[in-house]
């Protein structure tokens, strides 16, 4: 593992090298999950680094502004910080290909990156944006009715107060999201997306996948799943291990061989 300071002095990150003697197949750049510092929820990013390295893939983890050891502000947009991170990694390892990943709002940020930087060849999206649509409404009704009657009032009140975009999220419109996914896949950007039970306010039914990722079901480099048994931050270590193994398998199958 290599300590990598940023050129502007505004923080640092850790580059896990699969093989320090040669450039990697790609580098997975993991963004902060909300306020959790660079190790990720329950140290998930470190666990993923070890799995990625088995397939010749590096992993870089660092703190975005105001998280972990990074100063607040600094005059850069988060997108710029991600690109600066990619520059630092490229200079250190010779990596030319990047997969950007994150949970929740970090997935929203990751989703924007392929349009901003051609080096981004893959996305790892945990609980990203989704298209609600009629299947969500149906599942939402079923979920509502499954709750004790005593809870209905409170659930309805929360539902009526809810915004179209969940708090703290930065979403494109549903149309832009679906079109963006189609466009990225057409351009050879691989996509791994996982929806968990942590986002029941916008994802509840597996058929929502086809709405958000239209026409991509047959592509081997696009893997989108719904795991209603898993929580938002992958609290249960066995479940987290399953997910990380699956991600590592997808990376290996998707990225060009060395």
């Amino acid at each position: 593992m290599q300590l990598l300071p940023f050129a502007d002095g505004a923080g640092y990150g850790f580059l896990h090298r699969a093989d320090p003697r040669r450039p990697p197949r790609a580098t997975l750049v993991m963004l902060n999950a909300g306020l959790i510092h660079r190790v990720g929820p329950f140290r998930m990013n470190v666990e993923l680094a070890e799995r990625a390295a088995r397939h010749g893939i590096d992993l870089f983890r660092f703190d975005l502004p105001a998280v972990g050891d990074a100063p607040a502000g600094g005059g850069h947009r988060p997108e710029d910080r991600v690109r600066m991170a990619m520059d630092a990694v490229a200079a250190a390892s010779g990596s030319e290909r990047f997969v950007i990943g994150g949970v929740c709002s970090a997935a929203d940020l990751a989703w924007k990156m392929p349009a901003l930087d051609a080096r981004v060849r893959g996305l790892l999206l945990l609980d990203p944006c989704a298209v609600r649509g009629p299947w969500f409404r149906l599942a939402q009704l079923r979920h509502f009715l499954s709750r004790p009657v005593a809870e209905w009032g409170a659930v309805l009140r929360r539902h009526l107060q809810r915004e179209a975009t969940p708090a703290g999220r930065d979403w494109p419109s549903p149309r832009e999201f679906a079109a963006g996914n189609r466009r990225m896949a057409r351009n050879g950007v691989g996509i791994y997306a996982l929806y968990t039970a942590g986002v029941t306010d916008y994802f509840l039914h597996p058929r929502q996948i086809a709405s958000g990722f239209p026409g991509l079901a047959d592509r081997t480099d696009v893997r989108v799943q719904f795991r209603p048994d898993i929580d938002h931050v992958l609290f249960v270590p066995r479940q987290r291990a399953e997910v990380l193994d699956d991600i590592a398998g997808w990376l290996d199958a998707t990225l060009p061989a060395e």
Binding site: P41, R43, A70, D229, V233, P237
Partner: protein, 270 residues
Amino acid sequence: MQGIEPMLLPRGDGHLFAARHRGAAPLRARVLLCPPLLQEQIRSYRFFAQLAGQWARHGIEAVRFDYSGSGDSSGTSADFGIAGAIADIRHAWEATMRHDDGVPRLVCGVRMGGLLAAHAIRDGLDADMAWWWQPVSSGAQWLDEMTAIDARERRSRSRFPLRPAPEAVAGELMGHAVDPRLPAELRALHWPELRIPSTWLLDSQHALEPHMAADDVVRLPLAFDTWPDQVDFEAIIPVRQADTATARLLARLMEPAPEASVRHAREFAT
């Protein structure tokens, strides 16, 4: 944060991550921050990083580090063990706190980091003073608390609204895969007999316990009562909440240690 000097300290086949916050002149003290464990370490990371920065601006050079198998240090979480963590404290101390300039050297142990640091001191770590931040006096008690929180999270319908979570098995604790032997190691861990000038930074409940003399206890604001119990990050712990505590610690650095503080370090667990 400006002024942080991150380091990878060689340790066996791997390394310990450490970060030094250089103290402003005049230098009043150096302190090694021993972090809490598991989710408490992740939950409080930003707060103690900011607190270290605050102390550095007041002339207290602070070094933070991660135990092997945690944070940015080498090893998987299943590699973490009590004896190794105590040895890590001594290793970080030797690597970062060896200076001959007469500046006092302190240990600040946070939660279980306090209990581990107490054992490192008992084993010979030559700190001049100790700050105990919401310390845990019994490994068994802490394990029971963590096990209860783990079970609460698995039962939580807001965390698992669609399917029940799997039951915890040996080797799982608070979201981490741990060495199945860790619970037994924790149960065997008790506060050792110490003779070191100490200041106790306690939450509102523990600060009121009668054996804690007022002159060696800093009562923390209510904002500190709940963070060890929290798994999710609803908000960061604002560092300004520690302003009063920092002022008290700075004042204590200038005073002779009261005899009571040494006695309480010895009697903390009783």
